[in-house]
């Protein structure tokens, strides 16, 4: 029952016994992926996900005064699409379901959430490069388009975000944006 709950849009912890037939056998196992070492029983270490976020999953900003949000109208479809991506809960079911233990769906959801919004544009291309590089460093496998991730995802994140991320990544590699972080204080 690792990630295939057999119910669309449900995490394992959202299943009830009534969802099973009487007498059926339930197999429980921890997420299996090299990048998620088992700590104990069903508990795994998912900090690799956090490090992908730390590498670039943000919009650089500080807590000082900001422009009024209505100064930058955002089409509701765009805001909703960004939210479709942002709704990812970082559970890791996509990784566990993938025969290659790829973290593409997770990373793509995070990249797309910020990359779709006008506020996320300035760092769009440095972000995708940094996050994808970190993802590779963490030892997740490559994507072979099995689409098992999408089927397992409890938040129904669409694999179209992966194509979106790939496009951004390609564009970013061609653009080779200069990441001046470090030489320029980010605040």
């Amino acid at each position: 029952m690792a990630s295939h709950t057999g119910r669309k849009g449900a995490a394992t912890c959202q299943l009830y016994m009534r969802h099973f037939k009487d007498g059926s056998e339930i197999t429980i196992e921890p997420w299996r992926a090299e990048a998620f070492p088992v700590i104990r029983d069903l508990v795994v270490d998912r900090s690799a996900f956090d490090r992908i976020m730390q590498a670039g999953g943000y919009i650089t900003t500080h807590a000082g005064p900001k422009p009024d949000p209505n100064a930058t109208p955002i089409e509701p479809e765009v805001a909703e699409l960004a939210l479709d991506a942002a709704t990812c809960i970082g559970c890791g079911a996509c990784v566990a379901a993938c025969p290659n233990s790829a973290a593409m769906l997770y990373t793509a959801a995070k990249v797309s959430h910020l990359g779709l919004l006008p506020q996320g544009q300035p760092e769009r291309y440095t972000r995708v490069i940094r996050m994808v590089e970190q993802m590779e460093k963490e030892g997740f496998g490559g994507c072979r388009n099995y689409a098992e991730c999408e089927a397992a995802c409890p938040k129904e994140i669409s694999i179209s975000f992966i194509s979106q991320m790939n496009r951004d990544y390609l564009r970013a590699s061609l653009l080779e944006p200069i990441d001046r972080r470090g030489s320029m204080k980010s605040q």
Binding site: A10, M53, Q54, G57, A63, P69, P73, E80, L83, S186
Partner: protein, 638 residues
């Protein structure tokens, strides 16, 4: 215990800016020399840790979850308030201040509440800049919904997952600071004590929840952003891990605990299905915008809700409160639900339930519109109950949800202990005796982004840095005491599970210190709690070892603290001989059954001082002044 609130002089509109003009600051060059310990990574903690780090302070940050982004703030569904007046419906900073103060039944500090209302608009600006995808109108501008207890639309939201999105925003800022090396993040690490050196709070003792190691961190100040304590009731809408440990242990070190009995019981939760349930699920209050609450008029009704004709349905909130109807504040809605169920009119297998019906809203707006508004809440409800709310009304009942009480703090958010700060739900907050919906996220973020990062400078600038480290004997002593406690829990080897004690305490508190309280019940609870506590320490069975991941041991430590804390709650409820907000004493009600407040004797914050195990705590009072808003009866009927 000194209770100096440090409220700045001047007109209420000027207090915060005047304060900022005169407060002492730490200069950018000196900030990296100060280490600030931030415990908690919910909205309050993540906002504070990331903002402090961005300013240049060194931050050590802690949470007990496996990732900072899994703090309980993630569960908030409905939204966050801000006085933007985008809807042009007459909203203003003053009105938000007024609503919050009235909603809290005039039991909070005016100056703090006004500051909160003032900062509310900046939170939306900040969150949007971070990429929080708030709902938008067709024209691309931000959308709003309304929440209970107010007459304007000022709630910003992201479907039914506003907390998750705001937390991702705050956590992305935190992630950046972790990446840049300004924040050292310690996940799966639980605070177990706070360490004082020469009269100042200089560090904490923690347990690594993976290895069981107990060790310390030193710094120049400690910030607690550890959330609320609704789990004292065992069954609540809070995550299973939420606890009172950090604030309770701070209290035992000398921090005043304010208004512990102010606990909000949220009206719209899925009723408990049976004995062994361990958690309740909240259905967002936003549902009350369109759903109508009713029960059958006659007892012993057996028909399906759909078969009960209109004239046999009792829309009790609409009848009793025609102006606010289903949107009365939470405490009023909860009390009325309990009232009708106590009269035997409740529905469902336990009789503890009322209907929340969308039939009329669907007829009026169409299924599409209602789906778009509440689709994911409907799904969640259906997943849990197997009932489809589009076809049959939801069943709901109140459940403990939010705690207005917490560590007492001054205007700078510092507790009565020098160097110990409390923010977010962990402090006694700006919500008085009752919090309005969508106001907690607002307060957590105001505290974390805008208030604490500045006010902490006033304290730090007056003190040296780097003069104490964890080799100091005070740290070793505290570590030893924690080790002793852990050993005691593991070696008791009795016959009862931790869970069974927690459940027993929860039931007692629900019965006697819940939606309504009375003297006899509270006295009974005060007599029973020490008995449960004694049994716990003699007969609890905690499996496993200390040098490993041991969730039973974690739970045992938390329940041990709840067993002490519950007594303080009951003492507080007993000494507050009035009804106000969520604190409803049966003895103090009007002939119509509404809360009867006693401003002459109880217009104060009750702040408790710890005097040692089994000693009666001392009650101190911070008087409340009403300079801007005259005291008014909180009447949602007129």
């Amino acid at each position: 215990m000194e209770l100096e609130a440090k409220i700045p002089p001047g007109r209420i509109e000027e207090k915060w800016t005047t304060h900022l003009d005169h407060i002492r600051l730490v200069g950018p060059r000196n900030r990296p020399r100060y280490t600030v310990i931030v415990v908690g990574t919910g909205l309050a903690g993540a906002a504070a840790a990331s903002s402090l780090a961005a300013m240049g302070y060194k931050v050590e940050c802690f949470c007990f979850q496996d990732s900072p982004r899994r703090a309980h703030s993630i569960a908030a569904q409905g939204g966050i308030n801000a006085a933007k007046d985008y809807q042009n419906d007459g909203d203003s900073v003053f009105r938000l201040f007024y609503d919050t103060q009235k909603g809290g039944d005039f039991r909070s500090r005016e100056a703090n509440v006004f500051r909160l209302a003032e900062l509310s608009t900046r939170i939306i600006d900040q969150a949007t800049a971070q990429g929080v995808p708030f709902a938008r109108e067709y024209g691309g501008l931000l959308a709003n919904r309304s929440f209970g207890g107010v007459l304007v639309e000022r709630t910003f939201y992201c479907r039914g997952e506003t907390g998750q999105q705001l937390l991702l925003g705050a956590n992305s800022a935190l992630a950046q600071q972790i990446h840049e090396g300004n924040v050292q993040m310690h996940t799966r690490t639980e605070l177990l004590d706070i360490v004082e050196v020469d009269g100042r709070m200089r560090g904490i003792v923690v347990r690594d929840l993976t290895t069981g190691d107990i060790y310390s961190f030193a710094g120049e100040a400690v910030v607690l952003a550890t959330g609320g304590y609704s789990n004292v009731y065992y069954l609540s809408t809070n995550a299973k891990g939420c606890n009172v440990t950090a604030t309770w242990r701070a209290h035992k070190k000398g921090a005043g605990f304010a208004n512990p009995c102010f606990c909000q019981i949220h009206p719209t939760c899925i009723p408990a299905a049976g004995e062994h349930q361990s958690k309740l699920t909240l259905m967002s209050e936003s549902l009350r915008n369109d759903g109508r609450i009713w029960i059958p008029r006659s007892k012993g009704e057996t028909r399906q809700p759909r078969d009960i004709p209109e004239n046999e349905r009792y829309y009790y909130l609409e009848e009793r409160y025609p102006r606010f109807g289903n949107l009365v504040p939470r405490d009023v809605a909860s009390r009325n639900a309990k009232d009708v169920c106590d009269q035997g009119l409740g529905i469902g297998p336990t009789g503890h339930g009322v209907y929340l019906d969308f039939k009329d809203a669907i007829k009026l707006h169409g299924l599409d519109v209602i789906e778009a508004r509440y689709g994911n809440l409907f799904e969640m409800y259906e997943r849990i109950t197997n009932d489809n709310p589009k076809e049959t009304p939801m069943r709901i009942y109140p459940a403990p949800h939010y705690t207005m009480g917490g560590l007492w703090v001054d205007y700078n958010l510092m507790t009565t202990l020098p160097g110990l700060f409390a923010i977010g739900e962990a402090n006694f907050s700006d919500h008085g005796a009752n919090r309005l919906g969508a106001s907690s996220l607002m307060q957590c973020l105001a505290d974390g982004y805008f208030i604490l990062p500045v006010t902490i400078g006033d304290y730090l600038s007056r003190h040296p840095y780097g003069d104490v480290d964890t080799d100091h004997p005070a740290f070793k002593e505290a570590e030893q005491a924690i080790k002793t406690q852990v050993n005691r829990l593991l070696s008791t080897n009795g016959s009862r599970s931790v869970e069974s004690y927690h459940r027993e305490l929860g039931r007692l508190m629900t019965d006697h210190c819940g939606i309504s309280r009375n003297e006899a019940g509270l006295r009974k609870a005060l007599q029973t709690i020490p008995e449960i506590r004694e049994s716990f320490w003699n007969d609890v069975k905690v499996m496993g070892k200390d040098a490993e991941m041991n969730q039973a041991l974690e739970h045992a430590g938390r329940v041990a603290d709840f067993l002490e804390f519950a007594e303080l709650m009951c003492n507080d409820a007993l000494t507050r001989e009035e009804s106000c907000g969520c604190h409803f004493r049966d003895e103090y009600q009007t002939t119509e059954g509404e809360a009867r407040r006693d401003d002459e004797n109880y217009a104060h914050v009750s702040v408790w001082e710890y005097n040692g195990q089994d000693q009666t705590p001392t009650l101190h009072k911070e008087p409340l002044y009403y300079e801007t808003l005259p005291l008014a009866r909180r009447d949602y009927k007129a």
